[in-house]
Amino acid sequence: MEVRRWGCVIEAIIDIVLLTFLVIVGVAILLVRNLLAVTMLTGIYSLLVATLFVLLDAVDVALTEAAVGAGLLVILMLATIALTTQKEKVHAARQNAVALVVVVVTGAALIYGTLDIPPFGDPNAPAHVHLSPRFTQESPEEIGIPNMVTSVLATYRGIDTLGEAVVIFAAAVGVLLVLGTGRVRRRRDTEEHEDEARERS
């Protein structure tokens, strides 16, 4: 029992350290003006979030976050920076003061809201007494897969996953359309320029 209690304390310490790191990286992202550095910090941020998910027993989510957030997202951002610019310009402070007030007021309201949430890890929280027992106790036999996240994802919430696939397809089509038209128009422009140059000569 003693060992178990110490395990909980160590978990809590790691939890606090990771969350504090997250806030530090978040503030760094806010302050840094070089977009390449911001991209690297985003990668670190995603990796910290993935580590936190492992600690909170969400291993599938951690895998996805590490692959997609720390991997794919950083590559996409690097590609965008390569096509645009690396330096961010500094803005007037007047507009920022209003934003700061809005953010502080919203944050205070949300902090006030958290006071009603059941404590972290509480076994009697509504999240653990309603649907969770149904999935954790019956899904391994009902579906035949030990990993409950997979069985919920693919069966109980299968339509949701289909919707996710539709969103990814739509986003892929959107990206190709947005970037593709520019390329076609540029080619047309250069062809017109070449025609004009030919006519002039």
Binding site: L19, G107, V152, D160, V167
Partner: protein, 117 residues
């Protein structure tokens, strides 16, 4: 240790507000998307924190274990992460197009060019 029970949620609020501030106060479009990303990641942490069960284990069936984290928020966030990246990719593609059309990705410079025409 009582105050520790809400520490996760407070950090979630702080991260969410950092993301919110970046979105509304900073003019660079790439930075705005990063802010949006921080905002949505804070929601992910909120859901996963709610799913955590003291003394529970990861929701993979093991002989003799009865206490598991709630798998449902995990599934929701799994979907949300992938959808979030799809949307960020779409946003970054639009940023590239804005750069092509205006020669800048700073919000105020784009507004200035719009006012001229």
């Amino acid at each position: 240790m009582e105050w520790l029970g809400l520490y996760n949620y407070w950090v979630v609020v702080v991260l969410m507000m950092i993301g919110f501030y970046i979105v509304i106060a900073q003019g660079n479009l790439i930075k705005k998307l990063v802010g949006l990303n921080i905002f949505q990641t804070s929601v992910f942490i909120f859901f996963i924190s709610l799913a955590h069960l003291e003394g529970g284990t990861a929701p993979i069936a093991i002989e003799g274990v009865t206490a598991y984290s709630n798998p449902l928020p995990h599934v929701l966030i799994l979907t949300a992460i992938v959808v979030g990246v799809a949307l960020t990719a779409m946003g970054l593609a639009l940023v590239v197009r804005v750069q092509e059309a205006y020669g800048s990705i700073e919000e105020d410079e784009i507004h200035k060019q719009d006012d001229l025409h």
